[in-house]
């Protein structure tokens, strides 16, 4: 039976990891994400499912513990916030190169550097365009509610194992810290499946398995890259997810993700009350990005305003989607500042309607 609770985004996400049948969590505390590891330590899931929870000595250690667990075919998850995710980037690139499944959660705070502990979306580029080295992609899910913080953990593990690829959940300080009603899915059993790619010990009749992201022969490394690229095309074909609001009669369009999409939706309601016909598209997957869907919607509108808690990152993908045929402008607050619905509405009026 589904269970209704009032939970913080971070705590709900942690509970979802247990319920998704995760085998292990490795992490290191950092605001505004620390409730994830605090909840797991308090809940002691070893008691419930056998799931292991460990506070590593650093973020770098935590991601490499994830690498090790994933190499054994285990469901492993780690979480951090922006500066900590930067530390994890080397390991994430290795995991992507070794084609292993895992889930990495970034509860984004303002940067650059140590920045601020307040909410931000300034890690969009890092999540979507690389961050670590090499031609790799993360599947990136952007929850906008506490409910999605729960549902996307389950989805993230499914996608990670389907494509043998790391999946990032790009949350932020708002979604992590706020409390909302949430329906928890039922406890999933931990898997006992022995994947043929997993290093579980060479038994008789089993080929040896080598997990590595190193190929010194360029011909071989090019093959790895071609295989990765083919996989990413599959991901792009199958896994685009987004929501639209009031787009049917829209003359103008907002594009926003995560918590910012919530605030923008309020601005949309205010605009509609004034007779401005504006809709909203909210990508739930930032990679793969809904290019085709934005292009389709753009054909009916006079302009698009992206609203982000950064200096303009997702706007580049929206511009790629519309190929210069629809004006696209950006409104953002950054460094931990949160835009208000009034400001967003004013930006729409000045940059798009009056622009």
């Amino acid at each position: 039976m589904k269970e209704l609770r009032l939970m913080k985004g971070n705590e709900a996400l942690a509970e979802a990891a247990i319920r998704a049948g995760a085998d292990a969590y490795f992490g290191y505390p950092i605001t505004p994400q620390s409730e994830v590891i605090e909840y797991l330590m308090r809940e002691d899931p070893a008691r419930r499912t056998g799931m292991q929870v460990l506070q590593a000595e650093s973020e770098i250690a935590a991601i490499n513990m994830v690498y090790g667990a994933a190499a054994c075919g285990k469901k492993a998850i780690t979480s951090s916030s922006s500066p900590g995710i930067s530390l994890k980037m080397e390991g994430i690139s290795y995991i992507a190169g070794a084609e292993l499944p895992c889930v990495v959660v970034n509860v984004v705070r303002g940067g650059p550097g140590l920045g601020t502990i307040q909410p931000s979306q300034s890690d969009y580029f890092q999540a979507v365009k690389g961050g670590g080295h090499g031609d790799y992609k993360l599947i990136v899910l952007a929850p906008a509610t506490v409910q999605e913080s729960v549902d996307f953990v389950k989805l993230a593990f499914e996608l990670a194992f389907k494509y043998r690829n790391p999946v990032m959940i790009l949350s932020d300080g708002i979604i992590g810290q706020m409390m909302e009603k949430v329906e928890l899915f039922e406890q999933q059993p931990r898997s006992t499946h022995e994947y043929e790619w997993a290093t579980v010990g060479k038994k008789e009749g089993r080929d040896s398995v080598i997990v590595t992201s190193l190929q010194l022969q360029s011909e071989e490394q090019e093959k790895v890259n071609l295989r990765l690229q083919a996989k990413y095309r599959e991901v792009e074909k199958n896994e685009v997810r987004f929501e639209t609001y009031e787009c049917e009669d829209a003359e103008y369009l907002f594009a926003a993700f995560g918590s910012c999409a919530r605030i923008t939706r309020k601005a949309m309601e205010m605009a509609r009350a004034r007779g401005i016909r504006v809709g909203l598209i909210r990508p739930q997957t930032l990679y793969p990005f809904p290019y085709d869907d934005i292009r389709r919607l753009s054909e009916k509108v006079k302009g698009i305003l992206t609203v982000e808690m950064n200096a303009g990152q997702m706007i580049e993908d929206v511009r790629l989607a519309v190929c210069g045929e629809t004006p696209v402008e950006h409104f953002g607050r950054f460094g931990g500042m949160i835009p208000s619905p009034d400001e967003i509405l004013e930006a729409l009026e000045q940059k798009i309607i009056g622009g």
Partner: protein
Amino acid sequence: MTEEIIIAGFGGQGVLSMGQILCYSGVMQGKEVSWMPSYGPEMRGGTANCTAIISDRQISSPVLNTFDTAIVLNQPSLDKFEAAVKPGGLLIYEENGITRKPERTDINVFSITAYDESVRMNNTKVFNMIVIGGFLKVRPIIELENVIKGLEKVLPERYHHLIPLNKKAIHQGMEIIKERHSLNQA
């Protein structure tokens, strides 16, 4: 019905838990709710606030810059949030520690002496429940029985014997809240 509330005061006054209790009570009454705390340097420096939204409809933004109701428990919070109350909205302030009274005439203003009352009740920990009582008297958006159910959810079971005391505090709050300025008088 949508009620957008900011609750602000010193850390330790129970600001964050007031918001949580209202939200849990809202859940018990079948409402949509959202609760967003301050978790930054302002909290570490002594003042804390949270936004609580209770609505019949799905809630869009959990973060707001204007509110239907501001519940302010110290002078810095009054200074910060008086201007953020929507015209026609509600401001409730705790009298203890307030040196400059609210000045707006386009909102309804109520005051409460919850701290003094909690001292009279021999338990300053029920301070925030007295304030909740005052709020619910002016804005009866949640039934008392659902507030009690909400408390049962928020409080660990070992504190459930304190629920009757909290209930009494809510009733006291309803008794002592005072109208300072109403739009009808203006």
